[in-house]
């Protein structure tokens, strides 16, 4: 049964993804939820608490307010918190119960804007999707609400879009001839993030950056490419042809595709991507595939010779396959936190390649 998990954990959820994406942007993110989502995010999906503060809260929704659709407390609590904490904007994230009772978040945003004078936007989550979807929605909503046509462009200015600790540990991207305008959203700030429209190029380093890159292309004429930069240059992993093989990289498609392309260029060996996160449209080559859930992934790996994946995937991999561990925080969380490599240095985590 596709919906059951016997061995693997699920990926970080969309609500956590949204909170992670907006963590450093200077706003106040409010998850409309009793307490579960916040605790999950706080404990398992966020690493920055001790080094950087962020205004992330829950509404503490109770059964009566959920049943009666009482939004007044939610609104007044947010107004009180905003007055006190003075965020640059307010973002609201949904969870299963408000999703079920059809809470009008866009309407609430309008009321909050009137009452607080702050920009307010809704991030379309419901706790039933993975982090990539939540991050994508958060980045896109932020872009739509907060970006403005720039007065000037920064020559060779580039934005890194789709980078959070759920996928990345480092932001050290060396791009010769380019100036980084903003990073969405690791080691960054509100002031940097809102300057994104001044860039001349966007680089989507994960699938969660694609939607906002497309938006910025349409709205501000900023072209984008997708993939991790290699050798100091922006690099579109889809440009490297790969053939079907029994070597697999399991994980997020843009990162996995970029690593597969790197290996192909470096060694000529074909690795196929098995994308296990949600956003894959236009991000896979014909030799790649998408898998949903533990059962499908186990089946897909049956003929594997070589596997690059999070160590937990080893538990459902054929015992005779060669396994290269690439811990992924959005899957195994804190279990392998100290072993997560800098994705931008593939020589370190693919030593045999």
């Amino acid at each position: 049964m596709k919906k059951t998990y016997r061995i693997l954990p699920v990926y970080t959820g969309d609500v956590s993804g949204a909170a992670s994406a907006l963590y450093e942007f200077g706003g106040m993110t409010v998850i409309h939820d009793p307490s579960g989502c916040n605790s999950t995010y706080n404990t398992h999906d966020e690493t920055r608490w001790f080094d950087k503060e962020s205004l992330i809260y829950i509404s503490g929704l109770n059964d009566i307010d959920a049943i009666t659709g009482n939004d007044d407390k939610f609104i007044s609590d947010i107004c009180a918190a905003a007055k006190r904490m003075k965020p640059r904007f307010i973002a609201l994230a949904n969870s299963p119960l408000p999703y079920l009772n059809g809470t009008d978040f866009k309407g609430i945003c309008r009321v909050l804007e009137e009452k607080t004078g702050l920009p307010c936007f809704y991030v379309n989550t419901n706790a039933m999707h993975d982090y990539s979807k939540g991050q994508s929605e958060a980045f896109l909503s932020f872009a739509k609400k907060m970006l403005q046509s720039p007065e000037k462009k920064i020559p060779n200015g580039v934005n890194i879009i789709g980078m959070t600790p759920l996928d990345f540990t480092s932001t050290k991207i060396e791009l010769s001839g380019y100036e980084t305008v903003s990073n969405w959203g690791l080691n960054t700030s509100y002031d940097e993030a809102v300057r994104a429209a001044e860039a001349e190029l966007n680089i989507a380093v994960s699938s969660s950056g694609i939607a906002s890159c497309k938006y910025m292309e349409e709205e501000y004429g900023i072209p984008y490419i997708k993939g991790l930069p290699w050798n100091g240059r922006p690099f579109d992993y889809m440009d490297v042809e790969r053939k079907p093989s029994a070597n697999y990289i399991v994980g997020e498609p843009v990162i996995s595709g970029s690593i597969a392309a790197y290996i192909k260029i470096k060694t000529g060996i074909d690795y196929n991507v098995i994308a296990t996160t949600e956003i894959t449209d236009g991000l896979l080559l014909d030799c790649d595939r998408k898998c949903h859930g533990e059962e499908e992934l186990e089946e897909a790996l049956k003929d594997a010779d070589n596997i690059i994946a999070d160590p937990m995937v080893k538990l459902i991999s054929p015992p005779n396959a060669n396994f290269i561990e690439l811990p992924h925080f959005a899957l195994s969380g804190r279990l392998y936190l100290k072993k997560i490599p800098d994705l931008l240095k593939p020589g370190l985590y693919c030593p045999g390649i």
């Binding site: 049964m1 016997r6 009793p34 999950t40 059964d63 918190a81 904490m85 999707h129």
Partner: protein, 432 residues
């Protein structure tokens, strides 16, 4: 008296039992307390199955993973179609749980099933689900858990109900007069006067928090007396003693000597000569040592450390220890007398909320503070803290002595707070 809209309030100005206004909630990155996953694993050989949406599932599955217990954990993911099709949520739950059990190398004797808030709001027919599961797996004991935090603001919490559900499977066995059980706590009884007295009386001691096998757990049904020392376990202990027609004593860790003496006397257990006098003397001697050691160093206490934080604050303050702050969000009804006493005698004592929006930017003083509990340690930003939750299985004069020794140790030896407090479930295995 108005409830405070600030994150801190002098106890002299505070309102009982809710000193703070409800609002948006902050969650400190401190996780030593137990959740329903930790609690469920207290039943040996039990398998847990959660049926919920991705984001909700993530927290519980990673709890199990960090405990190294994924082999006893399965999950069923609910998706939008389960919400929009009539009858689908029951079908997904039944078929999902069935699939999880059938995929296990061996059918477990006990399965704890956790539906969630969504099941309640969809009007899901829970009775039908268990009827069907029990038909499919007649040899499995199903425990009816629930992960529904939306219900916890009023009435009982999911963990209180889980403790009760876990006790519901303990059978009524012939009572053995020489057998007594500690029940309802997560921490096994340690430095504990009741444990000492039971041992002195030659009685057999059982503990729901310390069973090695399922058989041992179920044999708790032969206990003639139950001792509950944790408030969240009281509902379970009341239910099981009523069902089995047994007696129970409720005695959470208190720092009031008279309360301890009265509780032990009321138990009817035989107590050695000078037990109370010697116990009190030992506590006072230990307390003097502590005072000599820490002098006027400020002390902070949090509600996760002990069941009765105000009883502790009162005890320390009455004995010359400079208690500065108690971290809590509400005051339990059983602490009303301590609250009023502190209000009248130590009005400058600060009550500090642990989930107020301002707590996201805690203001930490330069002053060195000795903290009791992980939350107090985090808020005060100190490594000098007593790393304890739920009273740590301590009770009575021996428990108080041990507690004071832990404070002395915390003063003398700084801990790596940043490494310790993010770990979940103090006392459980942690693989991070």
């Amino acid at each position: 008296m108005p409830t405070s809209s600030d994150e801190r309030v002098r106890i002299g100005d505070a309102e009982f039992p809710k000193p703070f206004v409800n609002g948006l909630e902050f969650n400190a990155p401190v996780h030593g307390t137990w959740n329903i996953v930790h609690i469920g694993f207290r039943i040996p050989e039990a398998h847990q199955i959660y049926i919920c949406a991705d984001n909700c599932l993530r927290g519980v599955v990673m709890t199990a993973a960090e405990m190294g217990e994924l082999g006893r954990f399965s999950s069923v993911v609910l998706e939008e179609d389960d919400m929009t099709h009539s009858g689908r949520i029951e079908e997904t739950t039944i078929e999902g749980v069935t699939d999880c059990i059938r995929k296990l190398p061996k059918i477990p004797p006990v399965v704890i099933v956790f539906p969630v808030c969504v099941h309640r709001f969809m009007g899901c027919d829970i009775g039908y689900i268990y009827k069907e599961l029990e038909k499919r797996f007649p040899d499995v004991i199903f425990i009816r858990g629930f992960m529904d935090p939306v219900m916890q603001k009023r009435g009982t919490t999911p963990d209180q109900r889980l403790r009760k559900a876990m006790s519901d499977i303990i059978p009524k066995l012939p009572a053995k007069e020489d057998t007594v059980a500690f029940a309802g706590s997560d921490m096994p009884a340690s430095e504990n006067d009741f444990k000492k007295i039971l041992e002195l009386n030659g009685l057999t001691i059982k503990d729901t928090a310390d069973c090695r096998t399922l058989e041992e757990y179920l044999s708790i049904g032969e206990s003639s007396l139950f001792i509950c020392q944790y408030p969240a376990g009281l509902m379970a202990v009341r239910a099981i003693t009523q069902r089995l027609d047994r007696k129970y004593i409720y005695c959470p860790l208190s720092f009031d000597f008279d309360t301890v003496e009265e509780e032990i006397r009321q138990s009817g257990l035989s107590v050695p000569d000078r037990f109370f006098e010697d116990g009190k003397d030992a506590c006072m001697a230990e307390l003097k040592k502590l005072k000599d050691l820490i002098g006027d160093m400020p002390v902070a206490v949090d509600y996760t450390a002990v069941p009765k934080p105000l009883s502790l604050a009162r005890f320390l303050a009455d004995n010359g220890i400079n208690v500065k702050t108690v971290y809590l969000d509400s005051v339990d009804g059983s602490e009303k007398a301590d609250f009023e006493y502190l209000q009248n005698n130590f009005p400058e004592l600060i009550l500090h909320s642990t989930m107020h929006v301002s707590d996201r930017r805690p203001v930490r003083s330069e002053e060195k503070v000795l903290s009791i509990g992980q939350k107090a340690a985090w808020f005060e930003g100190t490594g000098n803290f007593v790393n304890i939750i739920e009273g740590g299985g301590l009770y009575g004069f021996s428990g108080i002595c041990e507690f004071i020794r832990l404070m002395e140790d915390a003063f003398n030896n700084s801990k790596d707070m940043r490494d310790i407090v993010p770990r979940k479930g103090l006392g459980c295995r942690s693989c991070i």
